[in-house]
Structure formats: C-alpha cells, structure tokens
C-alpha cells in the first residue's frame, strides 16, 4: 500500500477538526497505515498547529513558506507537487479549500480522484472501493478507484468518527527547503466577513427553517407567521437565499450560520449535508416534507409527510388558539 498523506487545515495555530477525521479515514483504507500529516503556512501559527495534532499522525511534514501565510490553493498545490512522492494517497477535507485544491492536484500527480467520500467499503490490491452520495443524498453509490498510481480523495466532514487522540505527538519533519518561492496566477486579496443581517438566528431556541418547498417568495410569510406565533425565528436553506427570497444571514449551513436551537422545524428542506453541517447541539429535529424519500427524514427525530404550504398555516392557527386559551 502506498504511503497515505493528509493535508491539514489550520487557523490561528489550531488544527481543524477534520484533521482527526482524516486520520480515521486513512486507517480505514489501511489499518496498518501510519498516515503522514502535511501542514503548510508560516510563522508561529504553523508551529503551534504542528504541535497540536497529538499522536494521530506519526510523522508531520511542515512546509513553512511566507507565500503560504494564507492558504491559496493554487500555491499550496505547487508546494505539494514538490514534496509529495509519486503514487501517494492524499486525503483532504471536502470543504471550500479541498474543492479548490484537490481536482487539480490529482491531475498534476497523475493519480485517481474521488470527491466527497463518505466511507471506505473495501481495498483489494490496487483497487479502492469507496461510498459516495448523489442527488443530495437521495441515493448512495459504490465507486471503484484504481490507486496503482496514487489517489487524491476528498473526505466529507463528519463522515468518519475521529479516533481518540492519545497523548504524545508525531515527529515534525521540515520540508520547507524543498519548496522555494511560489507564484500563481491567482492572488489572495482579503476576506469579507458576512453581514450580520436583521435577525440573529443563532440566538433562538426554536427555528422555523424553510427550504425549496416554500416554492415562492410570497410564501415566506407563512413561515414568518408561525415563527411569530411561537416566538421563534425563520431560518432557511441555500436555495431560498439563491432565489433571493431571504437574506444570506438567515441561511443555516456550512456556507451560512451555525445554529444550536432546542427545536428545529425543517420545512420543505431536503437535508443536504451542507445544510445539516450548520445544525449543532443535537436539537430536536422535526421534518415536514412532501417527498417521503427526502434525506432529511434519515436524520430527523420526527417526520411528517405533508405539504408545508397547507400544514404550516394550520399549525399556526393551532398555536394561536393555544396562546389565546392560555391568556384567558
């Protein structure tokens, strides 16, 4: 089995949670594997990140380079091309940086590429069999991958359970000297922080969250009326923001807000993993969707197969009745 590497994201000296999940996925590919971590960056942040990996990796390759102070995928790719041995298996978290880096890296390494891997089903010789999802998680697939000339795999965050990190730490190997100066046709200018928006959905115990099933902008009021009656806020999934029916600040998900309510009413939301990634703290999840196959039903506590455009107004009326009765 070829050597397995995991490219580790870090920020402010802290490694991303995915670092430990990548180690777990490496061991699922090869139980005997002693995966090697690769970290790139600059200065004290990089050093403290290297020292924060515990014993998940027996060896840690450090690429210190001022050009890599910010993880510009175009530059990181060039650095990795210089240090990675041929036929390597390279694991990267499937999020915005991995999506940026991994496909091009596989071309330059002349190796196989599979994105968004959820599980490893089998390894037989030079054939790796992994599990992916298609159509927003409605169906899964087994994918066969010839790793005889290496592979680049992006791993879905949360799909592999991080193994407990034992005390100690791997040996740090400084690879900086192999890289030299880096330049690319894409230059990082800065980061624009998301606007706060009118309502802070992270502050509510109950969220009435709407997805594509709300169908049109004029229907958003249906969810708002329910939220008002319940003392909740309306949040939403990506398609609602894409369609400009609600502001970006209302979006729950990996590219939106992370919320920790007590109760989450998912209304007409299919349940893509990018959306679920924004729901933390295990709220009580009630899903209402007219598609009985919607993936949201796989993760919800309670599910109702119904049309939200009819269900929600009736629910609102009932809440108001209850409130009025209690007020008397």
């Amino acid at each position: 089995m070829a050597r397995i590497f995991a490219y580790i994201m870090h920020k402010g000296g802290i490694v991303d949670d995915s670092a430990f999940e990548l180690a777990a996925s490496a061991r699922k590919i090869d139980a005997a594997a002693s995966p090697t971590a690769i970290l790139s960056g600059w200065g004290a942040d990089l050093d403290s990140a290297c020292n924060n990996l515990g014993a998940s990796y027996s060896e840690i390759w450090k690429i210190a380079n001022e050009d890599l102070s910010y993880p510009n995928a175009e530059l990181v790719r060039k650095a990795l091309q210089k240090v990675l041995p041929g036929n390597s298996i390279v694991l990267i978290a499937h999020e915005h940086f991995g999506i940026d880096l991994a496909p091009g890296l596989s071309v330059k390494m002349n190796s196989a590429f599979v994105s968004d891997v959820l599980d490893v089903a089998a390894v037989v010789g030079a054939e790796l069999k992994v599990v992916r999802q298609e159509f927003g998680g409605q169906v899964s697939t087994h994918v066969r991958c010839d790793i005889s000339s290496g592979a680049v795999l992006t791993i879905r965050p949360g799909a592999f359970r991080a193994t407990e990190t034992t005390a100690g730490r791997g040996i740090v190997v400084d690879k900086s000297g192999e890289v030299g100066s880096l330049a690319a046709g894409r230059r990082y200018l800065g980061t624009v922080v998301a606007e706060a928006g009118d309502v802070d959905i992270t502050k509510y115990n109950v969220l009435v969250s709407i997805g594509r099933g709300i169908q049109e902008k004029d229907n958003v009021v249906i969810a708002q009326e329910l939220a008002d009656a319940m003392g909740a806020a309306v949040s939403c999934s990506r398609p609602v923001v894409d369609a400009k029916w609600m502001e970006k600040s209302r979006q729950v998900g990996s590219s939106g807000k992370t919320v920790k309510p007590k109760v989450y009413l998912a209304c007409g939301i299919s349940g893509a993993f990018q959306h679920l990634a924004g729901i933390k703290g295990s709220p009580y999840l009630i899903a209402i969707n007219k598609n009985p196959k919607a993936p949201i039903f796989q993760v919800a506590d309670v599910g109702i197969v119904d049309d939200i455009l009819e269900f929600l107004p009736e629910l609102t009326n009932k809440v108001r009745e209850m409130r009025n009765a209690a007020a008397k």
């Binding site: 510009n72 999020e95 915005h96 999506i99 940026d100 991994a102 496909p103 091009g104 890296l105 071309v107 196989a112 590429f113 599979v114 994105s115 968004d116 999802q133 298609e134 409605q138 169906v139 899964s140 697939t141 994918v143 066969r144 991958c145 010839d146 690319a184 046709g185 894409r186 230059r187 990082y188 200018l189 800065g190 980061t191 922080v193 998301a194 115990n205 109950v206 319940m230 003392g231 590219s255 939106g256 007590k262 109760v263 009413l265 009580y284 009630i286 196959k293 039903f297 796989q298 993760v299 919800a300 309670v302 599910g303 109702i304 197969v305 119904d306 269900f311 009736e314 629910l315 209850m322």
Partner: protein
C-alpha cells in the same frame, strides 16, 4: 471577452424523486424530468452579464449525446451565441479526468479568455473545472460568487468560504472558474425563446475533429468508475407520524412544548 461555459443536462431533483432501478445498477431514469444543471445555469447567466457589459461572445458546450442538445438550446435561448455538442461513442464511461481531457481538446481548438463551469452537478464530483485548469495550466478558483472584470487581463473574484464569508482574489486571464449558485438571478426562458433557436444548427464534434486519441478517454482510461447505486439504510431515521393532519399538528405542538420550545 470570449467565454466558454461547460454545461450538463441532469435529472432535476426538484421535479423528481430519485429511485433505484430493479437491477440496482442505476437510478430509474424512465420517468425523470431532465434540466440544465442548476449551477451551470448561473454560470451562463454570469457569462451573458459580462458580455453585455464589455462585449464578446458566449459559447456553451456539453459532452454528451443527442438528448443533451435541449440544454444547449435552452441556454442559447437565454442568449448564448453558440452551442456545441461534443459526442462520441468513445467517450462513454469516462471519469472526471476523461471529461476534462475531452474539454481540454475542445478549448485548444478555440480561443477563450474565460472558462466557466457550475460548481458541481447533482451526480458529479465538483471536479471538472479544477482538472481542466490544471491540464491547461490556467489559474483556477472554485465556488465563485462574484466576478468583476479589471483592466489588464485580470478579474477580481470572490469565493464562498465558511460562515457566509467571502474570499477575495485577483486572477489572471485566461482562467477557469467554477460558479456557485446565487451569484446572480438567471433570466427566465420562455417557450417562445426556445422556439426561436429551435432550428439554429448545433455542430457535433467527435474524437476525430478534436484530435483525441480514444485510449485517453472512455471506460478503458477511467481510473474511477461507479459500480452500483444503493439506498442508504435509514439508520435511526425519523419516527414518521402517520396520523391525520390535525393529529400530526397536535403531536408537533406537544413535542415542541416538551422540548422547551413553547414558552
């Protein structure tokens, strides 16, 4: 600016429930409604808006078969100037690398300043744009959610990163960008628009015209292959309420109250 947008026709999940066929080797395709892959449609709209501002032309291309002509025509009805179908028996079974190899050959037959793809297809791997860029040695950026054309063969772009933040970059042309949904509001295409382009000829290019050797594409060259489809086990899936709507509403209220949600 000469812009190429690589597009795909895919089953529309907002119109269909995706189910397995009886053999379990594919999804049931007979009754599916197909449409343009959603992010690709945003990419075409973005290309049209750039050309409206600074001039140029928009070409849409897809690797596929005869059935895929309909999405080329749909995007031409939106305003794309040219449509090209890249089709050959030899392409069948290509993995992402194979598709990128085909597109690379097509790009090198023309002259494009900017190449756009959608960020991902529903049954895809968010891979074609990044692979194509690496093969052409063009700069690449994924998840792009704004584009501004600068002087001197450059763009200022933003990428969607975590928490709704945006990463700003300057990128040299020619380049490849993968476009995220929500970057713009794609224009509506009516039946009338589609009728107007119904008879515009769409050239079909194959391995011969593109000078692709058949052993670099298709099933034999693919290092990655889908073996089967299956439905994930529901695990500890939701308890589905089977009562009447009124009963379900009462149950929801009871549950929300019990979880501390109705104070």
């Amino acid at each position: 600016m000469e812009i190429l947008v690589c597009i795909r026709r895919v089953p529309d999940t907002s119109e269909n429930e995706i189910e397995l066929n009886s053999a379990g080797n594919d999804i049931e395709r007979d009754a599916l409604v197909y449409s343009i892959n959603e992010p690709d449609n945003y990419a075409v709209e973005e290309a049209l808006q750039i050309v409206a501002k600074i001039g140029g032309s928009v070409t849409v291309a897809t690797v596929g078969g005869e059935d895929d002509e309909e999405v080329l025509r749909r995007e031409m009805a939106m305003g794309a100037n040219h449509g090209v179908l890249i089709a050959d028996e030899a392409f069948s079974g290509s993995d992402g690398r194979g598709i990128a190899t085909i597109l690379k050959a097509f790009v090198q037959k023309g002259h494009y300043d900017l190449i756009l793809t959608g960020v991902q297809a529903e049954d895809g791997g968010a891979q074609i744009g990044g692979m194509l860029a690496a093969m052409l040695d063009y700069p690449f950026a994924s998840l792009v959610n704004s584009i501004e054309v600068l002087e001197g063969q450059k763009l200022k772009i933003s990428r969607e990163i975590e928490g709704g933040n945006r990463e700003l970059n300057e990128i040299d042309l020619p380049c490849v960008l993968s476009i995220q949904t929500g970057i713009n509001e794609p224009r509506y295409v009516g039946m009338r628009g589609i009728r107007q382009v119904a008879t515009v000829p769409i050239p079909t290019l194959s391995t011969t015209e593109l000078g692709i050797s058949a052993n670099t594409v298709g099933e034999s060259a693919a290092k990655v292959q889908r073996v089967d489809y299956f439905v994930p086990s529901p695990g500890n899936g939701a308890e589905i309420l089977h009562g009447s709507r009124e009963e379900n509403i009462d149950k929801v209220l009871e549950l929300v109250a019990a979880k501390g949600g109705l104070k």
